[in-house]
C-alpha cells in the first residue's frame, strides 16, 4: 500500500493563531447548507477580493453545522475576526430566503464554543 507523506507539524510559535466564530442564521425559511456556503464565499470574495480573502485564512467548518438550530462555525486567523464578522453582515439573502446573522461566540478553540 502506498503511504502518503505527511508534512511535519509546524512549531506552535510559528503557527497561525486561530479564532472560531460561531453564529446563528435567522431566516424566513429553513436554509440549505450549499446555499449558505456559496453565499458566504461569494460575498467574501466580492467584498475583500481574492488577495484580501486569502489573508483571512478563512475556513467553513462544515462538520459543525447544526441544521436544527441553524448554527455554523467558521475559522479565521486572530487578526481578521473583525473582517469576517463585518463580512457576514453583508449577506442578506440565501436563495429566496432573507437572512440575518447573529454572532453567538468568538473563541480560540472549538471546545470553547460549546455551551458550559
Amino acid at each position: 500500500m502506498r503511504q502518503v507523506k505527511k508534512l511535519k507539524i509546524v512549531l506552535s510559535t510559528l503557527r497561525e493563531k486561530e479564532r472560531y466564530v460561531k453564529f446563528k442564521i435567522i431566516s424566513q425559511e429553513p436554509i440549505i447548507y450549499s446555499d449558505l456556503e456559496d453565499a458566504i464565499l461569494n460575498t467574501f470574495l466580492d467584498f475583500y477580493g481574492e488577495q484580501g480573502f486569502s489573508s483571512l485564512s478563512f475556513w467553513i467548518m462544515k462538520d459543525l453545522y447544526d441544521e436544527e438550530n441553524q448554527t455554523l462555525v467558521v475559522r479565521c486567523n486572530h487578526k481578521s475576526v473583525s473582517q469576517v464578522i463585518a463580512g457576514l453582515g453583508l449577506i442578506s439573502r440565501l436563495g429566496d430566503s432573507r437572512v440575518i446573522f447573529k454572532i453567538l461566540k468568538v473563541s480560540g478553540s472549538i471546545k470553547g464554543l460549546k455551551p458550559a
Partner: protein, 238 residues
C-alpha cells in the same frame, strides 16, 4: 452593554413590516432600544404612532422612541419648532444645504447619511466644527453598505471613512445605525461594530457609537420632553 439602533422604519413610514415585527427582531438581536423613524404627516398621525409605540414597547419589552425625519430645510425649521412633541429629530442628509442647516440647528439630534447619493462625502471640516458645537451626531448607515454593490459600495465606504476621520478630529459624535426599512435589514450590533472598525473607528470607539452615544442622545431627548425643560442648560427647579 446596552445597544441602540436609532434609525429604523416600518409600515407607517416606507418599510413593509409592522413595528411589532421590527421590535421582535431587534429584541432577538439583543438591542435594548430602537428609534422608530417616520416622516411628519400631521399631529394626529403622530399621536396614533405614539400610541402604537407604547403598546408594542410594553408587549415586546424593548424601548422604542419616536423619531421624525426632515427631508428639506423648510420641514427642518418646522420640526425644530415642534421639538417637544417627539423624541428624536433626524435629518435626511445628502443635500449640501440641508447638511449645513442640520449641523447649524441645535435641536437636531442626528444628521443621517450625509454622503447619500453624492460623489463626495457631503461633510467637511466646516460642517464638522458646527456639528461638534451644536452636538449634532453624524450617522453611519449600514443599510447604505448593505444595499449597494461594487463601485457604488466602494464609494460609500470611502466617503464614510472620510467622515469618520473628520468626526474623530473635531470630536463630532458618531452613531451607528442599521437604517433598516424591514426587520430583515436589522443587523447584529457586533456586525455593525466590526464594520465601523473597518471604517477607521477603534473597537472601543465603535462600541461607544452604538451604546453610550445613543444613550446620551436618548437621555437628552427625555430631558427635552420634560415639562420643566426650557432650553439646553435652563430648567425650572422650583
Amino acid at each position: 452593554m446596552k445597544f441602540y439602533d436609532l434609525h429604523v422604519y416600518s409600515s407607517f413610514a416606507n418599510g413593509q413590516p409592522t413595528l411589532e415585527q421590527l421590535a421582535q427582531t431587534a429584541k432577538e438581536l439583543d438591542y435594548h432600544g430602537i428609534c422608530y423613524v417616520v416622516y411628519f404627516e400631521g399631529k394626529e398621525r403622530e399621536k396614533i404612532v405614539e400610541t402604537q409605540i407604547k403598546e408594542v414597547s410594553r408587549k415586546i419589552g424593548i424601548e422604542i422612541l419616536l423619531g421624525l425625519k426632515a427631508r428639506n430645510v423648510k420641514e427642518l425649521n418646522f420640526l425644530a419648532g415642534l421639538r417637544r412633541d417627539f423624541d428624536l429629530l433626524l435629518v435626511k442628509g445628502g443635500n449640501l444645504d440641508l447638511n449645513r442647516a442640520a449641523v447649524e440647528t441645535p435641536e437636531v439630534d442626528i444628521l443621517a447619511h450625509p454622503e447619500l447619493g453624492r460623489l463626495d462625502s457631503g461633510f467637511n471640516h466646516v460642517l464638522a466644527k458646527l456639528a461638534a458645537k451644536n452636538n449634532v451626531a453624524i450617522e453611519m448607515n449600514f443599510r447604505e453598505i448593505l444595499t449597494s454593490s461594487k463601485r457604488s459600495r466602494s464609494l460609500i465606504l470611502a466617503h464614510m471613512r472620510e467622515n469618520v476621520k473628520l468626526a474623530k478630529k473635531y470630536h463630532v459624535p458618531i452613531v451607528l445605525c442599521s437604517g433598516a426599512i424591514s426587520n430583515w435589514e436589522l443587523r447584529d450590533p457586533q456586525v455593525i461594530i466590526f464594520m465601523a472598525n473597518q471604517l477607521g473607528l477603534e473597537l472601543k470607539e465603535a462600541k461607544e457609537c452604538i451604546s453610550t452615544i445613543p444613550e446620551n442622545i436618548i437621555n437628552r431627548a427625555r430631558e427635552r420632553r420634560d415639562e420643566k425643560f426650557i432650553m439646553p442648560g435652563v430648567r425650572v427647579v422650583k
